[in-house]
Every structure is written in structure tokens, then in C-alpha cells.
């Protein structure tokens, strides 16, 4: 099953890289991601931060300042709440340990803008925006009893960060940034899976 889950990532990467590899203007980044739940996601579902995430972008350099492409990733949120009594029906009460588990896979069309590109600076800031789907898996257990809801929801992303090329005007280097992720999820009284993630990794040309 894990192999099946990963397959769409690999297929997307292969497709995009095959389409643009000849131009020499395609770059990729792979970053570790640490995420903090926000708003009702934090208040109603999970308030633990998530150290289990990865992001990957494949971007086409439209010009010196603007890149467009595809953003993918994975973030796993989990929290186990101590035993408590929950109202589960009109006159029904249930004492249970509540476990919530949420996985988010963003599939986004992304744009990155480098305002200082072309100027001599060892550090280049960037701002980024993305829109697309947040593929979510929400599992909730009372004790060992529960189930999973899988869905795909609208997702928006906005962020900023810096890149530090290994050499002046180098095409590979370090990348560090943060994104605000708005993930719509309106089911069973829940509103969203909004989160803020900070990420760090490497970028490099695909060819």
C-alpha cells in the first residue's frame, strides 16, 4: 500500500521533468518540513506540532525572477488525548482515549518570485504562492474503534523564505522558508486543517 501511495509522486515528477528537461531551466527542491496546526485544526483536532513532513517542488524558471511549477509534499499530524468522557449520543456517554491522525498531501500549482534576483547577494529572498488540492486522510479513534475519512479539498498556500546558492549565481544551494497552508475540510463539524510549516532543504537543477 505504501508503494501505491508513493506512485503518484514519482509519476508527477517523471512527467514534469520529461517535459522540461531539455530547456535546462527546471529546478527542484526537497525540504524537510515541520508544521504547526492553526485555528480550529489546532483547537478541535490536533494541537501537537508535526515533525514528520517533507515537501518537494519542481519549478520552471520563466525568467530571472519568476518560476512556475508543481508543489508536492506530505505532512503527518497525530495526537492522543488522555482518557476522558465524551457525549456520544442523546443519553450516551463514552469514556475513551481519543486519537486523531491527519495526513495532508498538497498537490499545488506554484509560483515563486525572487525580487533580488540579478543583484549580488549571497542570500536571495523569495515569496511563493500556490493553489490546488490538499489530499487529506483523517482518522479518529475512540480507544481502538474508529475510522478514516479520505478526501481532496481546496488548498491555498502562501509563503516566504530565502535561498543561499552554493556559489555566486549558482543553480543549487540551501533553501529555507515558511508557508501558511489553508486546507479546507468541512465535514462532521470540522472546518479546516490549516497549518504553518517551516521547511529547510536543498534546491538543484534537474539538468
Amino acid at each position: 500500500m505504501k508503494a501505491l501511495k508513493i506512485a503518484p509522486f514519482v509519476i508527477c515528477i517523471l512527467l514534469v521533468s520529461q517535459l522540461n528537461a531539455q530547456t535546462g531551466k527546471v529546478k527542484m527542491d526537497i525540504q524537510y518540513s515541520y508544521a504547526l496546526p492553526l485555528g480550529s485544526f489546532k483547537n478541535d483536532v490536533i494541537n501537537n506540532s508535526s515533525p514528520r513532513g517533507v515537501t518537494g517542488d519542481i519549478l520552471y524558471n520563466l525568467n530571472n525572477k519568476l518560476s512556475l511549477g508543481l508543489g508536492l509534499g506530505f505532512q503527518d499530524f497525530y495526537q492522543k488525548y488522555p482518557r476522558d468522557v465524551y457525549k456520544t449520543g442523546g443519553n450516551e456517554s463514552t469514556s475513551a482515549v481519543l486519537s486523531n491522525s491527519v495526513q495532508i498531501i498538497p498537490v499545488l500549482a506554484k509560483a515563486e518570485f525572487y525580487p533580488l534576483e540579478g543583484k549580488k547577494s549571497p542570500v536571495q529572498p523569495y515569496i511563493t504562492a500556490g493553489a490546488g488540492l490538499g489530499i487529506t486522510s483523517f482518522t479518529q479513534y475512540l480507544g481502538e474503534f474508529g475510522g478514516t475519512d479520505n478526501s481532496a479539498s481546496f488548498m491555498l498556500q502562501g509563503g516566504a523564505g530565502v535561498i543561499v546558492p552554493f556559489s555566486q549565481r549558482g543553480t543549487s544551494g540551501f533553501k529555507l522558508g515558511a508557508n501558511y497552508n489553508m486546507v479546507s475540510y468541512k465535514k462532521n463539524g470540522f472546518n479546516n486543517f490549516d497549518n504553518l510549516n517551516v521547511q529547510a532543504g536543498l534546491f538543484f537543477p534537474l539538468k
Binding site: 508513493i6 514519482v10 503527518d76 486519537s99 539538468k207
Partner: protein
Amino acid sequence: MKSKHLVIAAFALSTATFFGCTKEPLNNLNQEETRIYVTNKDSTASFSSYKTYSISDSVAVLNNGSSFKDLSPSDQAYIDAVNKYMQQRGYTLVSKESNPDIGIDVNRIYNTATGYYSDYWDGYGGYWDPYYWGYGGYDYYIPSSYGIYQITEGAMSIDMLDLKNAGSKNSIDVIWNGLIRGEGIFNATNADSGVKALFDQSAYLQSN
């Protein structure tokens, strides 16, 4: 091209690593945490109006439509625990011939679900090509009885019956039910804590 493939491999590997690091909720529960304690009550019942109770001396074992009476060590432990917490709440144990206000039944329930590994057999030729055995082009025949599995899940249930008003209502109303599910529930050492949890979340169970 080599570098591109390395990048793809690196991304797939890192993604696989993080999928592997997903926190699986069921793997992070100890046995006690798997259990749930569910109570239901008749909102019209005035539990303080009942003073006496009687409890069955064995449990009903309900197993997919069949039933019989039994008294295993864990059954006895549940009966003892119910007596303990009923009396802590001020109710008096009497024999069933003494017209108790409440009758209490304890039940051990098994539910068995049957499934079939149909996906496994349907694709059998895909992972074991008959050519491998020297019979390329042949089909496999899988007897229909293969691949069937059963999962049995159990529960302990405690019912409180309104005997005080049965005559006037012409029915024996269940005024309270406690249900315990999860791992280790048929272990006698877990009976007391399970029944205690049911009573703890039912503060209205008081005879005065």
C-alpha cells in the same frame, strides 16, 4: 540523465521514509487505552427512587445469535464488581424473590465478522505467472472456500431493568446499560476497573 534519476530516487526515498514515519494510532495504544466504556440511560428514570437490586448469578453468553449461561472467572469478577459499586451508591442487594426495584443482567457478547481475501486470489496469476511452473497460458483454479477469514470482537454488557414499575407499565424497561469493549475485557483482573469506569461516568446512579 543519471543525476535526474538520482534526484527522483532521492525524492521517492525521502517520501517513502516519511510515509514510514507516520504515527499509526493503534500502534500507540496500550491495552487499557484500547478500551471504551459506554453508558446509556433512560432520561425519564429517577434512579434515586430505586433502593434495592438483584443481580443474575451467571452471565448470558451471546454468540452470533446463539446464547447460553456461563460463569467464568471473569464473569464472576464482573458480577462482584457490579455488586461492589451498586452498594457504594447506596443500593441494597436482595434476592430476586424479594421484589427488588432493579434487576441486573450481565452479558458476554461475541460478534464474528467473515471476510474474504478476494483481491489476493483475483490477481494470483499476476504475481505467480503459471509460466514459472512450466505451464504458461494456464489459469489457476482457486477453490471458493480458500481465503476466508473471521474476526471475532467481544463486549461485556450490563443492563439495569426497572422491576419496580414493571407491573404498572406492563413492560420491563431497561433504564441503564453499560458496555465495555476493547482488549483484555475478558480478563478477570480488568473487570473491576471497567465497571468502576461505567459507574464513574454515571454519577446519577445514587439511591439517595
